[in-house]
């Protein structure tokens, strides 16, 4: 089984982002591997360790700093990497899920991929569209929001998260696209020996515009704004004051 795993470089989830010029300010902001992609990488590496996958290829689309993110994926255990280079922003401002899925389609075909593992969404744009679109373009079966994945007789069995509980889906034969949810696994840290080994692993670069794909954004972002600031809570001294505030300030008591 050949696995292709998506690795998106996004603003670190612990960073409090700021808006400047109608977009999220990315200057001097800590960027990290998208947490859902990290889970996808971990799952791919486990498939390899379980001898189900023969090769795990990590792929990232974005600026030159994406190689750092790819190195993390390689240090976690991916075999090699593909860096699709572009200076377009990948957080929906320039490059959007349609184009991203198209690039993945090309690479999956070139690579002869059997299983594409992606995060269920990027935490920057929160679209969650790339996986489903990619499955559509390729005409492959898909499972979204994977919470458990097992390789089974040449196929996979995936438990997926739904609002009502979990749903177990059996895909008897590959290829397939799976998007990974939070509970699927707990990703490992990149250890020093593996970081050193990762330096020797191959990273191929391909320019995004060499695929002959329409990279234009077809959806226009009208506005980006920070959530309104919540007023700080106050401490009241006693019950009377609380009741008074609920009546006269909050207006929730008659």
């Amino acid at each position: 089984m050949k696995v292709l795993v998506g690795v998106k470089r996004v603003v670190d989830y612990a960073v409090k982002v700021r808006v400047q010029n109608k977009s999220v300010d990315l200057n001097n902001v800590k960027m990290s591997l998208n947490p859902f992609c990290e889970i996808a990488v971990e799952e791919a590496v486990r498939l390899k360790e379980g001898k189900h996958a023969d090769e795990v290829v990590a792929m990232s689309i974005g600026p030159k700093q994406c190689t750092e993110t790819l190195r993390t994926a390689l240090a976690m255990g991916c075999d090699r990497a593909i860096h699709v280079t572009t200076d377009l922003r990948t957080d929906y401002m320039d490059l959007q899920p349609y184009a991203i899925a198209k690039i993945f389609e090309k690479v999956a075909e070139q690579e002869g991929t059997d299983l594409v593992l992606l995060g269920k969404q990027g935490i920057d744009s929160d679209c969650g569209q790339t996986g489903p679109m990619l499955a559509g373009f390729l005409g492959w079966p898909q499972v979204t929001f994977a919470a458990n994945l097992e390789a089974k007789d040449g196929g996979i069995q995936v438990e997926r998260e739904t609002d009502a509980g979990t749903e177990t889906i059996n895909i008897p034969s590959l290829p397939a696209v799976v998007t990974c949810d939070l509970r699927l696994n707990e990703p490992r840290y990149a250890t020093l020996p593996n970081i050193m080994k990762a330096k020797k692993k191959k990273v191929d670069t391909i320019a995004a515009d060499s695929f002959g794909i329409d990279l234009e954004a077809h959806n226009e972002v009208l506005e980006v704004f920070e959530p309104p600031q919540r007023q700080e809570g106050i401490m009241v001294d006693d019950i009377d004051q609380l009741v008074d505030k609920l009546k006269n300030e909050a207006g929730v008591l008659a």
Binding site: P35, R188, A190, T191, L192, P193
Partner: protein, 507 residues
Amino acid sequence: MFRNQSSLRRYANRFISRSSTALASLNRPTEIDVQELLKLLNNRPNGVLVAEDGVSEDLTRYNHDWTNQYKGNSRVVVRPQSTAEVSRILKYCNSRMIGVVPQGGNTALTGGSVPLDCEVVLSLEKMSDIHSLDPTTGILTCDAGCILQNLLDFAAAKDHLVPVDLGAKGTCQIGGNISTNAGGSFYFRYGSLHANVVGLEVVLANGDILDMGCTTANLKDNTGYDMKHLFIGAEGTLGIVTRAALLCPRLPPSRCTTLLACDSFDNVLNVLEIAKKSLGEILAAFEFIDGPAMNLVCQTQSKPLPLPASQDCPYYVLVESHGSCAEHDQAKMDKFLNILYEEDYVVDGVVAASLEQMNAMWYLRESCNPSCVSSGYVYKYDVSLPIPEFPRFVEELKEALNDRTFCSLDYFNWGHVIDGNLHCNVVCRGNFETNSSLRERIDRYVFEGVEKRGGSISAEHGLGQQKRKYMAKLHGSETLSKMYDIKRLFDPNRILNPGKYLPEDCR
């Protein structure tokens, strides 16, 4: 207040029976005093908290330190909201010869922030306004009662860093940090509070307010004796810090954190040397945790050790860099790790790939103290030593205590190795009561071990109640005599934090 004569008498008796020389010349607060103090705070509800027999405000949190080793008996807690109120309270207590214990977040480890007996506790918790942060100079002005975490958050939102950071940041207050000259994890990079406090407002025992470069804070000011330094680390014995101006550096946009496992202390020293050489100016923190402490933390906090290949390593090292350019720092960090790997200085290591992983690594380090405290009675020491002496010092202590006189003891060590600061902890597992003969014995060995190595018995935790008795051994009589002169100058009636810091003045 005291509801009847008998409860007042019991209260008075307790005071007399427990009074020490430090309290001998002081008065206990009476009901009338409580009324007066309340008036000084404009009769504000909850301005003064009073414990009564039976029905009481629970004053435990003001009377006990968080490790439950030091317990006072105060029945009066005053909570001023302004410097003027602090001044009025001190003036009154000074005239009435009532002892006053200034208190911040009460996270101290040497008993400096809890009363010995029934002194009045002056809590700064209601003075928590952050006044300003000048974006050009980085000078932040705030009240003493600001919780450190709130300051860090406030500064971070304005792209700045508060130059002191420690595990207790969610509870401790900046006034307490300054009064104890707290060090913390980034001392090496950002320097001590003596370097970063550019202005201080202090109220003296007689109520005088000294504004030492607080209202008009300058980065450079060479006019007059720089008295603010006397109050930094004085543990509230000379005056009460009410406001401060702190120099805050810019928030480093690039941070790299790595956790490494070493099979010997020599290799910890090797890693330190390489870190200083190859990380250079971006090196911000270099901490160590020994194997037993790391195992204890993982156990009590139910966290897996992030280094799978290094179970039972004797030493773990946490290294962090702070810089302004991620690519530059990454290159340096790569070089650093490369050398460690090639030279076999580390058994294993992990690099944080996200802020979450960074925080997880710091969580391990910052959980050392709470994990120890939850596992048994902790005989806690905070010493400065020549760095290569760390393991021998601990070994000698173990040998000295290993004669079956005492229940089985565990040793957990960690600290700011780059500052030569070892936190050495002897823990009686499962036993939460102090054993005074054991304490005396450990005290003796620690003191001797530190003395013969030319170290310090208090690197950053202060003297408090625990270590003041050693002052006479640590400083010559001339030096100590001048310290008493200074104490007399600022607090002639010795009402401020009595029984702490300096030993009794016998003259």
